[in-house]
């Protein structure tokens, strides 16, 4: 683009720039402005209404010494790791299976992707019913004849996160599968032909050739899934409302609870700032890899 200069750079493509102004303003004011405002007020002792009375890092001290917050962080960490591993592994395996040039591929793809069309609220409610011991899986199995069968994950603090995980995976795996399938279709046929000529088994081709080539797809999936995990909220509200006790509390619920129910904005802002930080920890390395490393591309 080292052409001859044509007037000021600012006025090049003026129409496009003017057209982008509303979106840029929205982003700057609503997203960036709102974020900065929240971070600023997280250092105040605001209660029901925002007030600029600074108290230093007191809100953060209280946050990190709060058992509920710490429990929420651990719950999310557990859910997040399990969810990441399972959605990506299962999504990839399903995509590979679909990629075997099977019949009715479209039908299978649609079925797999359908849960993703449901909101987390619906997913949570449906799975709350399915896992309910009085009318769900347990009751069905008992009616078949296994009288002592017990399956009640949602009412036991030790297993409730698995109950959430089942619902989360059911909802999200189809989407991951589609991303992976798109990645698989992007692999050149010639690669497969070459591998076949060299006599490499199919599974080895997938692991040593195809997966490394799908790195961008995996990165994108990772970021989408991870960002979704950090803001996990509606699924938990619908399925368990954080219970039993606080066994399935997540950070976003803590933020809501302190901003609105407890009328302690400062505490809620501090918690949401910590959530922002964790999103940044996920996003920044990805952005660096995707956009910063163009030299390798």
């Amino acid at each position: 683009m080292a052409g001859k200069p044509r007037g000021l750079r600012l006025f090049r493509n003026l129409n496009a720039k003017v057209a982008a102004v509303p979106m840029v303003l929205t982003t700057m004011v609503v997203f960036v402005g709102g974020t900065l405002w929240t971070v600023l007020y997280s250092f105040t002792n605001s209660k029901l209404l925002p007030r600029l009375e600074f108290v230093g890092i007191d809100q953060y001290k209280r946050l990190w010494s709060n058992d509920l917050w710490n429990a929420a962080i651990w719950n999310l960490a557990f859910y997040g790791v399990m969810s990441l591993i399972f959605t990506i592994v299962m999504g990839f395996v399903l995509a590979v299976l679909l990629d075997q040039k099977i019949r009715f591929e479209d039908a299978f793809r649609t079925i797999m992707l359908y849960p993703f069309a449901l909101s987390f609220i619906v997913t949570g409610l449906v799975w709350q019913w399915i896992l309910n011991p009085e009318m769900g899986i347990q009751e069905v199995v008992r009616r078949i004849g296994f009288e002592t069968f017990t399956f009640d994950p949602l009412h036991n603090p030790n297993t409730v996160l698995y109950g959430l995980l089942i619902a989360g995976l059911w909802q999200g795996t189809g989407f991951t599968m589609c991303l992976m399938l798109a990645g698989l279709r992007g692999i050149d046929e010639d690669i497969w032909k070459a591998a076949r000529v060299d006599g490499i088994p199919k599974w080895k081709t997938y692991i040593y050739v195809v997966i490394p080539m799908m790195r961008p797809v995996f990165m994108t999936t990772l970021v989408i899934v991870a960002a979704g995990i950090i803001k996990l909220y509606d699924l938990v509200v619908a399925q368990t409302s954080g219970g039993p006790g606080n066994a399935s509390q997540v950070p976003a619920m803590y933020v809501y609870r302190y901003m609105f129910t407890a009328q302690n904005l400062g505490q809620g802002f501090a918690a949401s700032t910590m959530m922002l930080l964790s999103v940044l920890i996920v996003l920044v390395p990805w952005a660096y890899l995707e956009f910063g490393g163009k030299k390798h591309g």
Partner: protein, 409 residues
């Protein structure tokens, strides 16, 4: 000329009545269970009969869900005509920010200070000498509700206090019933704990911890006993998995569970189900141990509106809510106690009469919502919720209890 007069006459006939009366007021509240909805219908009926129009804005899901919506509407510039809050600190900052209508003139005209009993309810509405809310009813959370039939079937006497209730629990459990119904929401765990604190710990301890805010008493051995009693109670409730309080009450009504610790509003549910106090169910204020009740309650706040006509209607509604007839009709349906001592509650049932007597004798303490901020109440709820559904030791729970109370000093 004739036409003009006719037109003017017609115009007046339309404009005058509507100018003086018939204003729509939207009222938001979280009274959605069967008994509560029946009580609200009484308010709407009375307000409509007085010539204005009650636009019902019920928000389901309980106070913890409803209050954020109400506050968001008031602070967001879309205020309703009137809204329910609990007495005390929930709306304090909204008043301080000048978002609420000053009702002092109504209060003086209606002589609220002379008729409202206990007067602490009006004090809860008064900030800097001005009245900002109309007290509606008295809540006393420290009640134990018992299904009589379960005990009759078992052939054992119906418990008359918490100690007997706990002692009879093994037999109830052996009969395949759940001894104690408990909804799994934070505030219900907190309520059960506070009821046990008043019942087992007694009045002096309650006042020391919650009114004088004596942290040594909160960390002391007397309070530990309360936590131990709660740890016993949570074993009785371990099989109760419902969420909402009225689902838990329903377990007692249908005989699935033997008892529930819940506020006097549970009575509305028994009434809707056609149960008779004393015959089908027993109520024990103060858990039958200490005949003390803490008196919080509901009050209506009136956000400031720009329209002077609506403001007049708001003041009419405020006066109406406290008026004797409405108080009787509303509280009989809801099962809560009226806020004035000078009205005829002879239609009240056994349970309400027990409550009225305690009220008359003055054995009342302020409720948690009046002495602690929502921030502290929320933290307590979170802590109690974990304690009641997990295996936290009473000692650990007490240590955390004290830490939380300290954030509210």
């Amino acid at each position: 000329m004739k036409n003009w007069k006719l037109a003017a006459g017609l115009l007046l006939s339309v404009a005058l009545p509507s100018g003086a009366n018939a204003t729509d007021l939207e009222v938001t509240h979280w009274w959605t269970s069967g008994g509560e909805a029946a009580a609200v219908a009484e308010l709407a009926k009375a307000f409509d009969a007085s010539g204005d129009h009650w636009v019902d804005g019920a928000i389901a899901g309980g106070g913890d869900t409803a209050r954020p919506v109400m506050i968001a509407r008031i602070t967001g510039g879309d205020p309703m005509g009137a809204t329910q809050f609990n007495h005390g600190q929930q709306a304090l900052e909204l008043v301080q920010a000048g978002l609420m209508l000053d009702l002092t003139d109504v209060a003086e005209a209606q002589k609220w200070r002379d008729v409202i009993n206990p007067i602490s309810l009006l004090d809860g509405c008064t900030i800097d000498g001005k009245v900002y809310c109309a007290p509606m009813n008295i809540h006393s959370p420290e009640w134990l509700w018992i299904n009589n039939k379960i005990y009759e079937d078992l052939g054992i006497p119906i418990p008359t206090n918490w100690t007997e209730f706990v002692a009879s629990a093994p037999q109830v459990e052996a009969a395949g019933k759940i001894p104690l119904a408990l909804g799994r929401q934070a505030w219900q765990s907190n309520l059960a704990f506070n009821a046990i604190a008043v019942g087992i710990g007694g009045l002096d301890l309650w006042k020391k911890v919650n009114v004088d805010k004596d942290m040594e008493a909160a960390a002391g051995p007397e309070m530990l006993k309360v936590f131990q009693a709660s740890a016993d109670a949570r074993k009785l409730a371990s099989k109760s998995t419902v969420q909402d309080w009225n689902q838990a009450t329903n377990m007692v009504i249908t005989g699935e569970a033997a008892g529930q610790i819940m506020g006097d509003w549970a009575q509305g549910e028994f009434a809707v189900a056609g149960k008779v106090a004393g015959k089908d169910y027993t109520c024990l204020p103060g858990l039958g141990l200490n005949a003390y009740l803490s008196t919080g309650g509901d009050a209506f706040y009136f956000p400031k509106l720009a329209d002077p006509e609506k403001e007049a209607a708001q003041k009419r509604l405020a006066a109406l809510l406290v008026s004797p007839d409405v108080q009787v009709a509303f509280n009989l349906k809801k099962g809560s106690l009226p806020i004035r001592g000078d009205i005829d509650m002879s239609a009240a049932n056994d349970c309400m009469k027990k409550g009225l007597e305690i009220l008359k004798s003055g054995n009342v303490v302020p409720a948690g919502d009046q002495v602690w901020s929502p921030d502290v109440q929320t933290q307590l709820g979170d802590m109690q919720s974990e304690f009641w559904s997990g295996d936290m030791t009473p000692e650990d729970a007490q240590a955390r209890y004290v830490e939380i109370l300290k954030t509210g000093l």
